[in-house]
Symmetry: C2
Subunit: 355 residues, 2 copies
């Protein structure tokens, strides 16, 4: 019986990706497992080259940017970005939209000046701040495109007067956007791109190599740009699974195809949340995430009953983040709308029983 | 036809590990791929807990040390160690035994004072320096137990008068040793422990949290000790494959069993190198690595012919590192002695033809 995987990350991957990853874990080229092959061998070099060029193609990235496969998660980019591009006397602007941006702000303060231009902390991060002023003197403006915990998302990226840096961990490849105005785009792979263990960083080439501070070799973007993410032994199998996912993405309409697919799933699930008198959404309607749909029961004494009913229908991972409670259904690229329909049907049956 | 995998890393893994990893990449518990499961779910938490406790058991580590699963490779430990435990006014001693220790020395200088107590650079790192003085004032002494590129190995760890820090990337779990005198033991996983993408660090708990410098959250050992390697999303699948390898290790006699197995393979291969008049070993006999067996042809015009003959016998990965040339046969734990015999047979046939 099919399992409907609503985990927030590590998260659902396309079935055909899993089949091929499983096969290559046992036998790839030359009769060896992909995991047993030197990162300097041609088959693995080919994996990295194709993954890099597919990302550039899917996002419409040109020669000004370099695609890097790093490790340490988005959490490591929180400090690597200011370490590499924020001088001690320079100022970075941050928009505080939740747990992840709060952590990014903390790390940036170790390296330069930080101005928090806007925050939605006053309402537990349930909306995206708008209409803030962006001073011209900022080295960069840091934003977090999607908040996995509360379920908010920036619906678009406005053209701004300073370079942008964006944590897109949970919504990269879920929609079309213009990458050209970003100095750095970064994302942990474990939502729309692949399994955990690899971190994507897309870095504008002309912003690196200008710091006077001492940067450890492995933390300098320049090191990885020069060596095409192969300065040291990279996480070969996770990058390979990313490649398989990127191929699937391309074959399924690219980011435009994903945007359409994700919009349909969001419409279906938010539609039921708004219609069903037993549930309500927790975020500002215009800032609702199309990746992480968070909702509550009006009567939270029935939480366990709803969870049990969802579990019986083979829906897993819908418990809300421990810091906010309630429910969260993550509906990343790989999720089919039929799985969302199964959850919606559970909500309808729940209404019949408890309404 | 069986492939004999002599790659230096990523390297050979036990066949039963690959079979189980392949199966779990498709379906693990709950009908989901292991790669699709939240790191906060019980099955993944169980993987980390068992892997940590198996490492402690296999190495005989007690409560004074903590086993961590990190990322960024041994190359990232080169700077993380001095960042975490070497004060700006303190001095660390380093033994320079090749490319990896040279890199470690470079990073340490960013954080404190470094004294290179001994070096084998005068002979291209083909031996392990001995009989050097270790000043009492050292914060720690850093050693590299095995040099993958040239093929030298420290045959044992002498008791010394200062805390030890050791890069064991290429020979951890290959033999028995006393872990108690080490402040930090670290290793990229991709030799004897698992696939690339995870870095093992074994840290003495009482050495952390004492620095006055600002350390980014993700680079502070304390962060990962407190959160049992789950502060952020860890590389779940690579750690799982490590767990499978650790189970295999335990079932095959633990580190004592591996030591015996590796000694037999080394005896066989070095025996042929010493017997066969066409080949010679490149390192001091007493410092020969049991993990990476490096050798040359007396007549290097026949290099391609030997490589072709080895390739025909399904031996892969025996080309020497680009910086030293010749041949390198890596014979990590998972390699069966029969594969070494196949290579030895090729050397004998080569002698018949070209001798």
């Amino acid at each position: 019986m099919k399992v409907h995987n609503f985990f927030a990350g590590p998260a659902i991957l396309p079935q055909e990706v899993l089949v091929e990853a499983s096969s290559s874990a046992l036998r790839y080229q030359n009769g060896l497992s992909l995991m047993e092959m030197s990162h300097r061998s041609k088959p693995i070099a080919d994996v990295f080259e194709e993954a890099e060029s597919l990302i550039a193609e899917l996002l419409g990235i040109g020669d000004e940017h370099k695609v890097l496969f790093l490790t340490g998660g988005a959490s490591s980019q929180f400090y690597m970005i200011p370490m590499n591009i924020l001088g001690a006397d320079q100022t970075a602007g941050y928009i505080d939209t939740g747990t992840w941006s709060t952590k990014a702000i903390k790390e940036a303060k170790l390296f330069g000046k930080v101005e928090v231009l806007a925050s939605s902390k006053d309402k537990n991060f349930t909306y995206i701040p708008k209409d803030y002023l962006i001073p011209d003197h900022l080295r960069y403006l840091h934003i977090t495109s999607n908040n996995t915990i509360v379920g908010t998302q920036m619906s678009k990226f406005d053209k701004v007067n300073v370079p942008l840096v964006c944590d897109m961990s949970s919504d990269i490849f879920s929609r079309a956007f213009d990458a050209s105005q970003f100095d750095v785009i970064y994302a942990g792979a474990q939502k729309n791109l692949g399994p955990s263990g690899v971190t994507l960083a897309i870095v504008k080439k002309d912003v690196v190599g200008k710091m006077e501070r001492d940067i450890p070799t492995m933390l300098n973007y320049e090191t990885h740009i020069k060596k095409d993410s192969m300065f040291n032994t990279p996480p070969t199998f996770p990058v390979y699974v990313c490649l398989l996912t990127l191929r699937w993405l391309k074959a399924n309409g690219g980011v435009a195809g994903m945007e359409k697919r994700n919009q349909a799933k969001a419409d279906l699930l938010y539609g039921e949340i708004d219609r069903n008198p037993l549930f309500y959404g927790t975020t500002a309607v215009e800032d609702r995430s199309k990746m992480n749909v968070c909702f509550l029961l009006n009567d939270d004494q029935h939480n366990d009953a709803f969870l049990a009913m969802a579990t019986e229908a083979n829906c897993v991972g819908i418990k809300g983040h421990r810091s906010v409670g309630g429910f969260r259904a993550s509906t990343y690229n790989a999720m089919d709308i039929n799985s969302v329909q199964v959850l919606v049907d559970v909500m309808k049956r729940f209404e019949e029983k408890y309404g």
